[in-house]
């Protein structure tokens, strides 16, 4: 199945947005302009965008601590995302989430959970909600290979299957939970196969091939909208950077340098998709145009973020409760 040219163009644009946003983010992080931890999804753009592009704007989504790619994949604007990375008042989460929690609700994201496996029940609840509200909304649930070993995976997939909930469980299997490989953590290494135990389809796809991810996700979305229930998709992908930018891991390397280099050279989802586009419907000039507009978008986002103010101390308690008359509590002023 071939994607339409318009969709191809948007797919390439979103993948490139993630890549450029994170390359620049990495640079800013190393320069000390982004506090906290920075988990880049460079190398995983095909999986993220291939899945997101199969959704409608009104569909919901949950993500993980490797959260930058998810809102961008779902179509979010970059400015508020970059401002959030810097902890600015104009950030998408008003400086209260940061790198691990870039949830943009305007594109349907209800949460990016840095508790591994924490988003899986939320996505399942979103599916239950869609069923109660009798809408055709579906929820795309991203998680990693590590989360598959959490109890929430087992419990949630059982419930989604039991009630035929419209949820697409999408495992970004990049092979490593920080440093722990699948071989060292899974008694049975085939993640897609686990679906069979829950009575739902389980599909393994090449996560570096954005078209393959799109095709599998589209079928899962159609199945969910028909009322036929959830699907588990295992997208085999690869993380090009360290688990966290600048993370020093002592001892014997958990993955060989050649493995990383080979993946960067032969399994880069952007290079693979670019080549496929040139082979079919796009000219070099058309791709250049997308590339230079994405570079400009990221540059504008950085300018916006850098020019934005930090939240004032007086805003510390904002967004705690829906009725602020109860807050701050006694002793708050003396404690701060």
């Amino acid at each position: 199945m071939s994607l339409t040219k318009g969709r191809d163009s948007e797919t390439y644009r979103r993948m490139l947005r993630i890549r450029k946003f994170e390359e620049e983010g990495t640079r800013l992080y190393k320069a000390g302009k982004i506090p906290g931890a920075f988990h880049a999804s460079i190398g995983q753009e095909g999986t993220i965008v291939g899945a997101c592009i199969a959704l409608c704007d009104s569909d919901a989504m949950t993500g993980t601590h490797r959260s930058h790619g998810h809102p961008i994949g779902k179509g979010a604007e970059l400015k508020a995302l970059m401002a959030e990375l810097m902890g600015k008042a104009t950030g998408i989460c008003k400086g209260r989430g940061g790198s691990m929690h870039l949830a943009d609700n305007s594109v349907g994201i209800i949460g990016e959970s840095a508790i591994v496996g924490g988003g899986i029940p939320l996505a399942t609840g979103c599916g239950l909600s869609a069923k109660v509200r009798q809408t055709d909304q579906v929820c795309l649930c991203f998680f990693g290979d590590g989360a598959v070993n959490q109890g929430t995976f087992h419990e949630s997939l059982n419930m989604a299957s039991l009630w035929k909930l419209p949820v697409i469980y999408l495992c970004e299997n990049n092979g490593y939970a920080i440093t722990t490989s699948i071989a060292r953590s899974h008694g049975q290494p085939n993640i897609a196969k686990r679906a069979e135990a829950y009575g739902m389809p389980g599909i393994a796809v090449d996560g570096q091939d954005v078209r393959e991810v799109y095709k599998a996700t589209s079928e899962a979305v159609a199945r969910a909208r028909r009322g036929d229930g959830p699907t588990l998709i295992e997208a085999k992908t690869y993380r090009f950077d360290e688990h966290q930018v600048g993370l020093f891991i002592p001892g014997t390397p958990y993955r060989h340098a050649e493995e990383v280099e080979t993946n960067k050279k032969l399994r880069d989802p952007l290079l693979l998709f670019r080549r496929a586009l040139l082979d079919t419907s796009f000219s070099e000039a058309e791709l250049h145009e997308i590339e230079s507009s994405v570079v400009a978008e990221v540059r504008d986002a950085i300018q916006f973020a850098e020019a934005s103010p930090f939240p004032p101390a007086s805003a510390l308690y904002d967004y705690m409760y829906s009725n602020p008359i109860l807050y701050p509590p006694q002793g708050a002023t003396s404690a701060v």
């Binding site: 989430g97 924490g118 029940p121 967004y319 006694q330």
Partner: protein, 331 residues
């Protein structure tokens, strides 16, 4: 004529038990708002039978034994347009549910800068004092008092459980209800008004008095009421306060009472280390120290597990005699 329309309806009252008021509040909220759903294990048991027979399966969800995830499912549903009441049954199961309650429900409004809201209610039933041993006898609200972003209520009368449960369902933040099951059979007058709401965050003075302030929580309230009656016969006047909401705590009411009496006894059935009494005592020490004529007294479960044998368990929870003795000790 518009005046007549705005006139409040006659505030009729009926006698009912705490448990019946709890079920009635849920039925009325389910009928009022189609976004309200109820989720829980063995939902038809313990009063839930009326819910199951009255509403269809889209409103009443019977859960598999997956407390962690169905708690998260309730939270996810709350974030996408529903207002779930999640019945966690026995309060000791709260520990399995605590990750989504603490890491997701309490934090997501703040962590998303107000982009999402989490209007979910958790019912947790405390069944101590019945030889159920330590894994079925917990009163775990103190752990959750330490979590910003939650609202926690523990009503002690049928009217209050009805009015506070309704307020919880209509609130846009996550609310935990710690029900003391010893109160389930207690009868009281309950307003029939389907919009009878008791505000979250307001304590109630159950009995006005001048000598000693007694703050009692949950099931300790009944014992404290009996103690206050006995003490009155001996000429000691108790001001008895029911916080009703444990978080955010109505310290103004407690502080004003202590300013009047200068003596404070705190009674609750949670373990004594870092419980609600600890917090009230600390706040009085910080902000009401000058009012105190005598040291604050705390009556709580000691730092020991709840044993199985009735011969042992009877020594764990404060009784009426201890409340009377503590009050007299301050006179």
């Amino acid at each position: 004529m518009s005046l007549a329309i705005n006139k409040p309806r006659p505030d009729t009252m009926v006698q009912m038990t705490f448990l019946d008021a709890l079920v009635q509040a849920q039925i009325e909220e389910l009928e009022r708002d189609e976004r309200v759903i109820v989720m829980g294990e063995d939902i038809a048991v313990y009063g839930g039978g009326k819910l199951v027979s009255r509403f269809d399966e889209r409103r009443i969800w019977s859960m598999p034994i997956s407390e962690t995830s169905f708690t998260g499912v309730g939270i996810g549903a709350a974030m996408t347009g529903l207002r779930p009441i999640v019945d966690l049954s026995i309060a000791s199961f709260m520990y399995l549910a605590s990750d989504p309650i603490i890491n997701q429900a309490s934090k997501l409004r703040y962590m998303t800068g107000g982009q999402v809201k989490v209007p979910v209610v958790f019912r947790c039933c405390m069944y101590y004092g019945s030889s159920l041993a330590a894994q079925h006898s917990d009163r775990p609200y103190p752990q959750f008092l330490n979590v910003p972003g939650l609202k926690i209520i523990s009503p002690t009368s049928p009217a209050d459980i009805k009015g506070l449960l309704k307020s919880a369902v209509r609130d846009d933040d996550p609310v935990l209800i710690f029900e003391d099951t010893k109160l389930w059979p207690v009868k009281g007058e309950v307003p029939t008004d389907p919009d009878h709401l008791v505000p979250i965050g307001k304590a109630e003075i159950k009995r006005a008095g001048s000598d000693v302030t007694v703050v009692a929580i949950g099931g300790a309230m009944r014992l404290a009421m009996d103690a206050a009656k006995d003490l009155a016969e001996e000429g000691i006047s108790i001001e008895l306060i029911d916080p009703r909401t444990l978080k955010p705590l109505d310290m103004d009411t407690i502080m004003a009472s202590v300013a009047k009496t200068g003596r404070l006894v705190l009674v609750e059935n949670a373990h004594r280390v870092a419980n609600l009494s600890s917090e009230i005592a600390a706040l009085i020490a910080e902000e009401g120290f000058e009012s105190l004529k005598k040291p604050i007294r705390r009556l709580c479960a000691p730092d020991v597990h709840v044993p199985f044998s009735p011969a042992l368990e009877q020594h764990v929870f404060p009784g009426k005699a201890q409340i009377v003795a503590a009050v007299k000790g301050l006179m």
